[in-house]
């Protein structure tokens, strides 16, 4: 296939959904969410590795599809297709119209992240995916969904910040930001540890890995079917994929970090089992499954980081793992959804009353209140009082009377002429002295 055609095809995988995200551009097409997947399907159907360089995009970017990403793409297409089918609702309402927009935005981000060949591209698409997914979560949902969305959004911002820092660290080291180049450049860098921790924290937040899984539970609890179906295959999978892409696996051997990660992973799995058991809510099962699975993933990642030889083999495995995780979680969600439809009681037992705001929501609130007092009260009030004082000073009778009285006495004939005299005498005197 010639390069132009392949470039167009690659670009249209995320580009076409993006275009369709504009309501005006899809108003005529009957099945926009499905049609948006068309380029990806075509791409999957053509069994060859494509790549396109886009030097004018951002800092020079590119898209490619290879053996590994083909699997991921396939998983994404299947999941998105299913979700699109679930989503099909009354089309004329503005709410669903919005939902479609968010759906397509998220879709574009998700597919783009899979095809991205460099850090910035991946970052861009995953951010797009993140904000879009927020819209999917929140749009038209009730309070719980909104809260879930809020938490997801806050963590998303934090994650993006961490990743941005990581990006800056990389950019200080190398100009070429494609994955391979970054791995090689960052491995010997002095700020490697900072980079690794930023990347890990960032993607852990994005993928909801224990203990940074704050958003995961509320999201699973409140998400509507289409969103719930995608939770595993889109945010979590993208997060994990990011970790694989960004970490210089195979270039470094860091036993300490590896061991720590492995312990964390084990902890996550234990947490999932114990907490899932205590919770006992069937609808939450996919959430705990996700925690468990990501724990497993982290354990493996730890192993990969600990040893460069293991790390280089780890890549293929990770892709497969992500694919199966996506499918698995989706199947689980759908299954439970089906179950819930049959017997609601089993899925959602008595809902606990008064869900208190967790600590990570309360603290920022306190900070914000404190900031409000600091920022909007104290300083302006200080300045206002200062200005008022200055104004009073100007208005003070003492000043006024000094000015007016001085001028009045200056205007007195006798006074003035005497001054004149004095001046003349002074001039003569000064002159005579010198």
């Amino acid at each position: 296939m010639n390069t132009t055609l392949s470039a167009i095809l690659l670009l249209s995988v995320p580009g076409y959904p993006l275009l369709l995200a504009f309501p005006a551009l899809r108003s005529r097409s009957p099945w926009p969410c499905h049609i948006a997947l068309l380029p990806a399907v075509i791409l999957l159907a053509v069994p060859a590795a494509f790549s396109v360089d886009l030097p004018w995009l951002l800092f020079g970017s590119g898209l490619a599809v290879g053996e590994r990403s083909r699997w991921l793409l396939a998983m994404a297409v299947v999941l998105w297709g299913a979700a699109a089918t679930l989503l099909r609702a009354p089309a004329n309402q503005p709410e669903s119209n919005h939902l479609t927009t968010f759906f397509l935005l998220t879709l574009a981000g998700s597919l783009g992240a899979i095809l991205a060949t460099d850090l910035v591209g991946f970052f861009t698409f995953s951010t797009l995916m993140g904000y879009g997914f927020y819209g999917l979560l929140v749009n038209g949902g009730e309070m719980a969904a909104q809260r879930a969305g809020r938490i997801y959004l806050a963590l998303l911002i934090l994650a993006d910040l961490a990743l941005f820092e990581a990006l800056l660290i990389v950019a200080a080291v190398t100009d070429d930001l494609s994955f391979g180049a970054v791995h090689q450049a960052v491995a010997p860098s002095a700020s490697l540890n900072l980079y690794l921790s930023m990347v890990l924290v960032g993607f852990a937040l994005k993928a909801g890995i224990w203990p940074l899984h704050f958003w995961l539970l509320p999201a699973f609890r409140s998400a509507r079917p289409a969103a719930a179906l995608l939770l595993g295959g889109v945010p979590i999978a993208t997060g994990l994929l990011g970790a694989v892409h960004w970490l210089p696996l195979g270039e470094i051997s860091s036993p300490g970090l590896g061991l720590a990660l492995q312990w964390l992973g084990v902890g996550a799995m234990l947490h999932a089992i114990v907490a899932g058991r205590i919770q006992g809510q069937l609808k939450m099962l996919p959430a705990y499954a996700a925690i468990f699975a990501t724990g497993l993933f982290i354990t493996a990642l730890g192993a990969g980081l600990a040893d460069s030889a293991a790390g280089s083999r780890y890549g293929d495995l990770a892709h497969l793992f992500i694919v199966s995780l996506g499918f698995g979680l989706a199947v689980l969600t759908v299954g439970i959804g089906w179950l819930a439809a049959r017997s609601p009681d089993a899925v959602a037992p008595a809902k606990r009353a008064g869900d208190p705001a967790p600590w990570f929501e309360r603290w920022p609130g306190a900070v914000v209140r404190w900031g409000a007092q600091m920022g909007s009260d104290t300083l302006p009030r200080l300045r206002a009082s200062w200005l008022a004082t200055a104004g009073r000073l100007w208005q003070t009778r003492a000043w006024q009377s000094a000015l007016d009285g001085g001028e009045r006495s200056l205007q007195r004939w006798a006074f003035a002429i005497t001054l004149l005299l004095l001046l003349g005498v002074a001039v003569a005197f000064i002159g005579a002295l010198s």
């Binding site: 009045r408 205007q411 007195r412 004939w413 006798a414 002429i417 005497t418 005299l421």
Partner: protein, 102 residues
């Protein structure tokens, strides 16, 4: 001391005296007169000092200057008097207000 210098000293005295009167008196006519006294003092200084040339013809240039000065003083006095009349007709007092009128 030759008499010329004496006259000049008298002129200086007149100048100071006129200035005193100018400051002390509030009536405009007195002020105008005071100015004239001062002017006379200055003219006296000018001509008196011109006569320091012992015996010889006094320097004519200051004389001419004084004549010029006198005419100027006369003109100014005339204007001042006319103005004074207008002021007193307008304000009822032949005095200057110490503060600007409002």
């Amino acid at each position: 001391m030759i008499p010329a210098v004496l006259y000049a000293l008298v002129g200086m005295g007149l100048f100071a005296l006129g200035l005193f009167a100018l400051i002390v008196h509030t009536h405009l006519l007195r002020k105008i007169l005071a100015i004239n006294v001062m002017a006379s003092g200055v003219f006296l200084v000018l001509v008196a000092l011109a006569a320091r040339t012992r015996g010889a013809v006094p320097d004519p240039v200051p004389h001419a200057m004084v004549i010029t000065g006198i005419v100027v003083a006369v003109s100014a006095t005339a204007l001042a008097l006319a103005l004074m009349l207008r002021v007193s007709a307008e304000t009822g007092r032949a005095e200057l207000p110490e503060e600007p009128l409002e």
